[in-house]
Symmetry: C5
Subunit: 89 residues, 5 copies
């Protein structure tokens, strides 16, 4: 999984029928200090995340494991909102 | 998912039988400002996208979830046309 | 698989029901000499690894093969604690 | 999918039984102008491609979708020979 | 698939039960001239490869296709030993 920072939302009127009703969020993948490691990953939200939240994003086939997105054409899903990171330097 | 910008089309007369009739588009993966993050990704279109459109591209096994491409040898599929991106800086 | 160095823990109260009770560790992917190749990969632990351990991390659909995480939305799992690396230069 | 340029062949006498008889080609992933984006990807051929051909390569689990390679341990398969690329700059 | 150069071995006493008895090799992904493209990939061996061998490595879900590793938590498997590379520059 990766740590993502939710930056905004993606609107697409014309889309796959299975994606209708879903919430697509624009995220940056970041490290523990907030440095951007990968930009502009679009993830579907399953836990009620919002802009500014630091989240846990799962990718690949695992992104379809949450009940709300089973069988959907999604490859990145927000599965948690990060409360805290404990890092030992 | 990633944001793609459709740049052109790919023609291949000699190809896998399952791909015959499909539309292969050449895309660049971009960020919210249009900066190219990854070049020359070939994606199959399922929503009627065209050159110049900004699109949502799903990759990996999820690319075979849309009904029109089930079972096909495709790893990148256009599943939406982007109307707008709302980004909070 | 990759070699990871466990750096810390990730806390997420609001998360996918299947992840409740699991232990999410923050890791850096490293080479044999400890050089960081990829930062901030979040992996679920199945072998009792702790901060400071060098571990074997499996990614992708294989990350759901261990019995403890079958069916969970995880894409990176710690499947071993490294005792030693024997490298011939 | 990616655009590949076939550079050569890979010979391996000792290999997985399922790969015996298959043709492994050494390719570079390129963009529309031929710039190398990723070197030395080994792909199995299913369409009769040869050295010097520009091809469409599918990766991941989709690489096992063509009938000729179903169930084989392959993660990159040539599924088309490119006739032309139409790009709007 | 990728071309790997076997650099050493990984020892892990504490590991997933399905990995017990398997041989984990530390490899570098290289191009045709031996230039390192990606360091420190840990691959399970199914063909009797040893340190110094140039090998064919399959990744992703395809890494679990060989009979010896079916169902195991592995994402990179050595499926051939390279005898020769024929490259047309």
């Amino acid at each position: 999984m990766k740590i993502g920072l939710v930056k905004g939302t993606v609107t697409a009127t014309l889309k796959d029928p299975q994606l209708v009703g879903g919430k697509l969020l624009l995220t940056d993948i970041v490290d523990a200090k907030g440095k951007v490691l990968e930009a502009a990953l679009v993830a579907v939200d399953t836990v009620g995340a919002g802009v500014g939240d630091r989240v846990v994003i799962v990718t690949g086939s695992a992104a379809r494991q949450p009940a709300g997105v089973a069988g959907q054409p999604v490859d990145a899903t927000i599965v948690g909102v990060v409360d805290g990171l404990s890092v030992t330097e």
